[in-house]
Symmetry: none
Subunit: 191 residues, 4 copies
DNA sequence: TATGAATGAGCCTTCATTCAT
DNA sequence: TATGAATGAAGGCTCATTCAT
C-alpha cells in the first residue's frame, strides 16, 4: 500500500514492493497473478478494513449533525491509528481515479462511500439549523469547514509517527472548532 | 503540459509529447537536457503565466474579504479561458506532489502561493467580521467554504469544453453563495 | 511423456507434469535431480520399452523382406496399443533432435535403431528382388515406400483414440499395398 | 531464422537473436512490435522468397512426372544455395506446426503448398505409367521414393557449407536414381 | 517420503536518452 | 537546427529448483 500510495499504480515498482516486503519476486507472483491483481486485492482489503473499523462504528442515532460528525471523527482516529496506510492508500486511489480499478472495486468503493455518507447525513434533525439560510447549503458549508479543518490537521501531522502522538490537545482544539460551527450555523437558542 | 497533466511526470511519454508537439525526438533533447528539465521548464513557464495573468491582476485595495475574493474569481476565470492547460497542469503537479520538483520550482511555487495569499488576505478590514468568533478562524472557515464551493463546481464542469459555456448562471449562483457567507460571518449590520 | 511429447523439452512445464501426474513439485525433484534427469530417464525408459515390446519380437528368420516388414508392423501395433505415449514421445524426441540428449541416450538410441534395422535387413533373401536394378537401391525404395505409407496413415489417424479403432480395414489396405510393392520390386515369377 | 529454426518460436530467445544479428535489444522492438510480429514477418518473408525463387520457376508444361520433378529439384537447389536458412526455417515452422501462426500466414503457407503441389502434379501424362497398378498409388510411391531420396541426401549434407560443394556427382547419382524410378513405374516401352 | 511456499535467473518489452547524419 | 534509428537499463512476469516442515 505504501508503494502504491506513494507512486500510483503504474509507477509502483514490484521490485520495490518485494524489497519493502522482504520477500522474493517469485512469491509475489505466486500469490497474485499479476501486479493488477495485487492492487485490486489491496483495494478490497482496504475497503473491508474501513467498513469494519470505521463505517460499522458510525452512530446513526445522534440527531445533531455536528455531534454525529464529532463521534465519527473519534471513530476514524481509532481506525487510523490501527492502520494508517489503509487511509492513505484509498485516498490516493480515489484521488488519482486509478484506471486499473475494475467494476467490482469501483462499485464497492462507491457503495461504501454512499453508505458512510448516508450514516452521516440521514435523519439529521435540521430544526437545529438556523432558518434564514437554505438548509442544503448549511450542510455543505458545515461539511466544507469540517473537511478543510481535517485537511489542515493532516497536513500538519504529515510525516509524524501517529502512534506516539498525544492527541488530547488536538481534540480540545477540535471541540472548540465545533462549537464555533454551531454558533455560526445553528439557531441561537442552541448556545 | 497536456501529457504531463493527463498522466503525471513519470507516465508522461516523450514519444507522445513529440507526437502531439509535431517535432522530432532529437529536437526535444536538443533543447532540453532530459525529461526532467522539460518538466521543470514547463512548471516555470506555467508559474510565470499565472503570475502575469492572475496574481498581478489581484486587487489589493478592496477591504472587504469576500468582495476581494469575488474579484479574484473573475480574474481567475479570464486567465483560465486564456490557457486552461496551465491551470490543469499546475494543479496536477501540486496534487500529485511530483517528486521531480527541485528546490527552485518548489520555492517559486511557494512564493507565488504566498504572494497570492498575501494579496487575498492583507489589509482586510476585519471590522466587518462578526466579533463573537476568533477572527483567524473566520478567515479559515470562509476560505474553506470558498474552496469547497470551487471544487464542487470544478468537479461538475469536468470534461466540458470551457470555451463554449455560458457562465452567467454560474456567476449568479456564486454571488448568492457569497451573500450567504457574509450573512454567516459578517456583522449583522452588513445586511 | 505426454507433456514432453506435446511441447518439447524446454516448453514442457514441470508444473504441468506434476499436475498431470498427481504428485507434488517437491517429490519430482526428490527423485530426479532436475528436469533434464527426468527427461533422460524417460528416454531411457521408453527405449527399454521399445526394446522389450518391439525389437525383441522382430522375426529375423523370415527371408522375404516385405513379409518380414509386414510381421514387424503387426508387432509394432501391438506395442503401440500397449503404450502409445512411448512412441509419440520418442518420435518427437528424435524429430526435434532435442539438444538435451546426452551421449548415453544418444548411443542407446542409435544402437537400438541399428539393432532394429539389422533385424529388418539381415539375411534377407535378395534373390527375390528383380535383378535389373541395384539391390541396395531396391532396399531403399521399398523402405521409403513403407515409411511414406506409414506416415500418411499416422497423419490420418492423428487425434483419434487408437484403442477404439477397428484396424481390420487398415490391415487389408496395407496388405494390398505390400502386394503392389512386390509386383514392382520382386522378380516376375513371384506373382 | 536461424534461432527460430533451431529452437522453435517459444524457445527462441530475443537475446540470442539480437546477439547473432549484432544489434541492440531496443532496435528489435523498434522495428517489430513484439517477438510474434518478428516471427510472422520472417514467415512472410520466407514464403515470398520461396514463391519467387522456387514456385514461380516450376515448369508446368513437362508432361513426364519424373522429368518435371527433376527440373523442380534443380530449381530448388538454386534457391537453396541462395538462402538455405529460408528452407530450414519454413520446414521447422511447418513441422512444429507453430501455434503462433495467424490465419494470414497459415493461409499463405497452405496456398503456396497447394500451388507447388499443383505445379508438380497437374496435367501429368499418366499414360506413361505402367498399367497393371493403380495410378494414384504409382504417384504416391514415386513421391515417397523421391522424398526419401531427398531426405537421405539432406541428412548426409547436414552441417556442410552448401556454397562450397561441387554438386555434379550428386546430380549424376540423382539422375541414375530417376532412371530406376522410371524402370520400376513406367511402361516398358519407355526404355 | 512428501508437500508447496519461496527463490532468483532469465524472459519479453518499454522508454528516456544518445548519436550519426 | 533537425531527424529518427540505435542503445541499454529497468520493468513485469515465468519457471526450474530449493528448502523448511
Amino acid at each position: 500500500m505504501d508503494e502504491f500510495a506513494a507512486k500510483g499504480y503504474k509507477n509502483a515498482s514490484t521490485n520495490n514492493i518485494v524489497k519493502k516486503a522482504g520477500v522474493s519476486k517469485g512469491i509475489l507472483f505466486y500469490y497474485f497473478k499479476n501486479k493488477k491483481e495485487l492492487f485490486l486485492f489491496l483495494v478490497d482489503y482496504a475497503l473491508d478494513f474501513i467498513k469494519k473499523e470505521h463505517i460499522d462504528h458510525l452512530d446513526e442515532e445522534e440527531p445533531d449533525f455536528i455531534e454525529r460528525y464529532k463521534k465519527a471523527a473519534q471513530v476514524k482516529l481509532t481506525a487510523y491509528t490501527k492502520n494508517p496506510h489503509v487511509f492513505n492508500f484509498l485516498a490516493t486511489v480515489y484521488l488519482n481515479n486509478e484506471a486499473e480499478l475494475d467494476k467490482n472495486s469501483r462499485d464497492k468503493l462507491n457503495s461504501y462511500y454512499l453508505e458512510s455518507r448516508a450514516k452521516l447525513y440521514k435523519n439529521i434533525d435540521t430544526s437545529l439549523f438556523r432558518e434564514d439560510i437554505d438548509q442544503k447549503l448549511i450542510y455543505r458549508i458545515i461539511t466544507w469547514a469540517l473537511e478543510g479543518y481535517q485537511q489542515e490537521l493532516m497536513a500538519g501531522l504529515k510525516g509524524k509517527d501517529m502512534t506516539k502522538i498525544n492527541f488530547d490537545p488536538y481534540w480540545e482544539d477540535f471541540y472548540r472548532f465545533l462549537k464555533v460551527l454551531k454558533k455560526l450555523n445553528y439557531k441561537a437558542e442552541e448556545e
